[in-house]
Amino acid sequence: MLKATVYVTLRESVLDPQGHAIQGALHSLGFDEVKGVRIGKYLEVNVDTTDKAQAEERVREMCEKLLANTVIEDYRFEILEG
């Protein structure tokens, strides 16, 4: 069993109003050093295979098809030993 950890974030060119609101909240708590917050999604996908290369190919396909909308989002992932 392998585990893919997938991060999906809004593209740099896309405004993130949620991140902006959280940045404001952090500032109001005194964390003045915060210069930007981007909010994204984190997914753990367990895949029933021991073939890392194959898992990578399949997870990429999952990201392209469903997990990310590449019009507005970027994704990256790592394959770890389950």
Binding site: V14, L15, A21, N69
Partner: protein
């Protein structure tokens, strides 16, 4: 003529859509469950608003892979008229039938109110009963209606006259160029965030949505050589 209102788990504007078709178009209309895989009996396909699949992952992301969506894509290729409202619009973008995507409202607030729209293109199958640049009142009800596309896509939408509705006076959700509704290049698939089906009688505060349904009916009649008695 037969009209389909597609129902996904979590659709909630399906009844409004169905009743608007009955009241304004007077056409036979059926609810079609998302697992259905044959739309050959239908001439017009309506994707209603709501929160299909709980909006999990992204609005419309899961609904886009429903069995019925393959049929919706096929119907679009055949040139049938397809209208997606609110969540229906989100599903159409996820399915790639319309360009761009819908982001969280810039204000982060869910907006439920009457909005003013400018009819930017009245030469479509869905808007021929409006006047060019007419300002109409149609309600919105969404948390993620902030239309976004890259500059290249925007230029293409403008060049092909694919922007159909823009917000007037106030842009409620931060959408690019105030876009409220767009149509595909071929002119048979329209998506919009505002709800015309919720503005079809004077008692609904506005009946400006009525003419979308009369436009669709007129288009169908013209295409099929049916004489009107209206």
């Amino acid at each position: 003529m037969r009209v389909a209102v597609i129902q996904f788990p979590g659709s909630n504007a399906d009844v409004d859509m169905y009743q608007a078709v009955e009241d304004i178009m007077g056409a036979p209309v059926d609810y079609v469950w998302h697992s259905h895989n044959d739309l050959s009996a239908y001439d017009i396909i309506l994707l209603p608003g709501g929160f299909s699949y709980g909006d999990y992952l992204r609005c419309g992301a899961v609904a886009r892979f429903s069995p019925v969506m393959e049929q919706v894509i096929k119907a679009a290729e055949e040139g049938k008229l397809i209208l997606g409202v609110c969540n229906g619009f989100q599903i159409l973008t996820e399915a790639g039938l319309l360009p761009g995507a819908l982001l969280r409202n810039a204000s982060l607030k869910f907006l439920c109110k009457l909005s003013e729209l400018r009819v930017v293109n009245n030469s479509t199958a869905f808007t021929q009963d409006y006047s060019q640049d007419e300002v109409i009142q149609i309600p919105i009800a969404h948390g993620e209606g902030n239309y976004f596309c890259d500059e290249e896509t925007l230029a293409k939408l403008q060049a092909n006259n694919q922007i159909v509705f823009c917000y007037e006076n106030e842009n409620p959700n931060g959408s690019i160029n105030g876009i409220a509704g767009i149509i595909n290049e071929r002119g048979n698939v329209l998506g919009m965030m505002p709800h015309p089906e919720r503005a079809v009688h004077a008692w609904m505060t506005s009946d400006d949505g009525k003419r979308m349904f009369t436009s669709i009916l007129k288009t169908w009649r013209e295409k099929n050589g049916v004489t009107t008695n209206a």
